[in-house]
């Protein structure tokens, strides 16, 4: 790890516009520094900023950027109204990491593409213009939607997939003032040359994530995640689903995929097809095919397209069955059974 200067920001004003890398929970940044992928000259510690509360806001919730992932997942309001968010969080990382990792840090975490993580491999995301080591490489975890030859990496977050499904908004403060970006648009898709423009300008900081009132979506929300082991692994593919159902008819639908693109992937065509349809297995199968509209393999990963459809259908079926009173022992697991558990 390189030597760096350390400063602690006690107020948001001291953090905004500061030069250097922001340190929050440290679970991603310190790891990247240890493997030589990040080498900031200066760390600005924002973990003590007073952004550590979950508040009611206009019928929804406003989550501070320094709230730890574990604390979102066990918040009674989140469990009652945004259950797919709690399930997504609990399906990610380990209990130790969730106790440290922050909301803002989860959004800002780097891709786990093994070529990005290896400083000896070419990577347009890490070193613009150097090429993409993943193209033609081992690609079973790579993108099948929204990719270019410049970059085929995926965003690894589970939390962001559920947030995108719930129409969450990212609140940002910078030297130029406040701005807001929809969660589903926050992470750039790659362009022909590489990863695309960064989400934040220098000195900008995420202060909150705002969730609108979920209304009747609250009662039918689930997250399903396929991974290479049942716990403590990133998604091969995942899906967040939330439905509003009246007399067996779907009146509103949300569906987002994870592990398939450089951002959480909202499936608008599938949502349109679901709205007004009967909440049946046939409806969910049809919608899940639309969910991967435009998908194409970026390497030896065509299986991910089929897997994403199956996981989307599973998430919709579980959501339709209703949010369980208590999340299953294995959150989001495909092995958790379909008896509402």
């Amino acid at each position: 790890m390189n030597r760096f200067e350390y400063t602690r920001a006690e107020t948001l004003g001291a953090a905004v516009g500061a030069e250097g890398a922001f340190l929050a929970g440290g679970t991603n940044l310190l790891d990247l520094m240890k493997i030589g992928v990040a080498a900031p000259d200066r760390l600005v510690d924002i973990s003590h900023l007073p952004l550590d509360r979950i508040e009611e806001s206009a019928g929804g919730l406003r989550i501070g950027a320094m709230v730890r992932n574990a604390d979102i997942a066990r918040d009674p309001q989140v469990l009652a109204r945004y259950p797919a968010l709690a399930e997504a969080l609990l399906s990610g990382a380990s209990a130790q990491l969730r106790n440290a990792a922050t909301t803002g840090g989860n959004v800002m975490q780097a891709t786990r593409c093994s070529y990005f993580q290896d400083p000896l491999s070419p990577c347009n995301r890490r070193e613009p213009g150097s090429g993409c080591g993943a193209l033609g490489g081992v690609t079973r975890t790579h993108a099948v939607l929204g990719w270019t030859e410049g970059c085929i990496a995926v965003h690894p977050s589970d939390m962001c997939v559920a947030l995108a499904a719930y129409d969450a908004v990212v609140e940002i403060t910078g030297p130029g003032g406040l701005r807001e970006v929809a969660m589903e648009e926050f992470h750039p898709l790659p362009d022909a040359e590489g990863a695309g423009a960064p989400s934040l300008s220098p000195g900008e900081i995420i202060t909150h994530i705002r969730l609108p009132d979920p209304g009747p979506l609250a009662r039918h929300g689930r997250y399903v995640k396929l991974r290479e082991r049942t716990s403590f692994a990133f998604a091969i593919v995942s899906a967040a689903a939330a439905l509003a159902i009246e007399d067996g008819v779907i009146t509103e639908a949300r569906l987002a995929l994870g592990g398939v693109a450089a951002r959480p992937w909202r499936c608008r065509k599938a949502e349109e097809a679901l709205k007004g349809a009967l909440a049946t297995a046939e409806t969910f199968a049809r919608a899940s095919e639309l969910a991967t509209d435009g998908a194409r393999p970026s390497g030896d990963n065509a299986a991910k397209i089929v897997l994403a459809q199956r996981i989307a259908a599973r998430a919709l079926e579980r959501a339709a069955a209703g949010t369980p009173d208590r999340l299953p022992a294995l959150p989001a697991s495909v092995f958790a059974g379909d008896d509402n558990g």
């Binding site: 602690r8 929970g25 493997i35 209990a95 106790n99 440290a100 022992a329």
Partner: protein, 166 residues
């Protein structure tokens, strides 16, 4: 300027002059304080061998920048026993053979203490296994570990119940 760090480690307030900001809490505990019970496994937050309690919550000490935790209360495996009397989780790991080589054991024990304090797994073996998934055991003593956590949970919750009813 050398920053000074204030930490309460296993109940003892300590002032530590830190001339290198790169120190993680793990390195500080082992190299500066001499508490080598906390183990360095992967050093990347993937194995859990370095698990300690920071302000009562289990975390990976390898991914905790020491300077960021100025003022915190740290509990390591050395801080669990009372004199010669083992903590219930330590005793249960011995009773149920919750280890072979022992390298991951301090992290397993600290993680189990954190898990029981969280109170969400209860006596459900599946929830215990899921809650302990951040601690790898290359000897695969997982069956004994689950049994140990179950017994310690029973022991600690019945002790609490007796205190509350007394």
């Amino acid at each position: 300027m050398t920053p000074t760090l204030n930490l309460t480690i296993n109940g003892v307030p300590q002032q530590i002059a830190l001339d290198d900001p790169r120190a993680t809490l793990l390195d500080l505990l082992r190299e500066r304080i001499g508490l080598t019970g906390t183990k360095k496994g992967c050093d990347r937050g993937q194995c859990g061998a370095c698990t300690v309690l920071i302000d009562g919550r289990r975390m990976n000490a390898c991914l905790a920048l020491a300077l960021s935790y100025d003022g915190a209360e740290i509990t390591t495996v050395e801080g669990l026993a009372t004199g010669e009397t083992l903590h219930p989780v330590q005793a249960a790991f011995i009773a149920h053979d919750g280890f072979q080589c022992g390298y991951c054991t301090p992290g397993q024990i600290m993680s189990a203490v954190g898990l029981i304090a969280e109170g969400e797994a209860g006596l459900d073996p599946e929830r215990i296994r899921e809650g302990m998934s951040g601690n790898l055991c290359r000897c695969a003593a997982y069956a004994g570990i689950t049994e140990a956590v179950l017994e310690a949970t029973r022991e600690m919750t019945s002790a609490t119940g007796e205190r509350e009813s007394a």
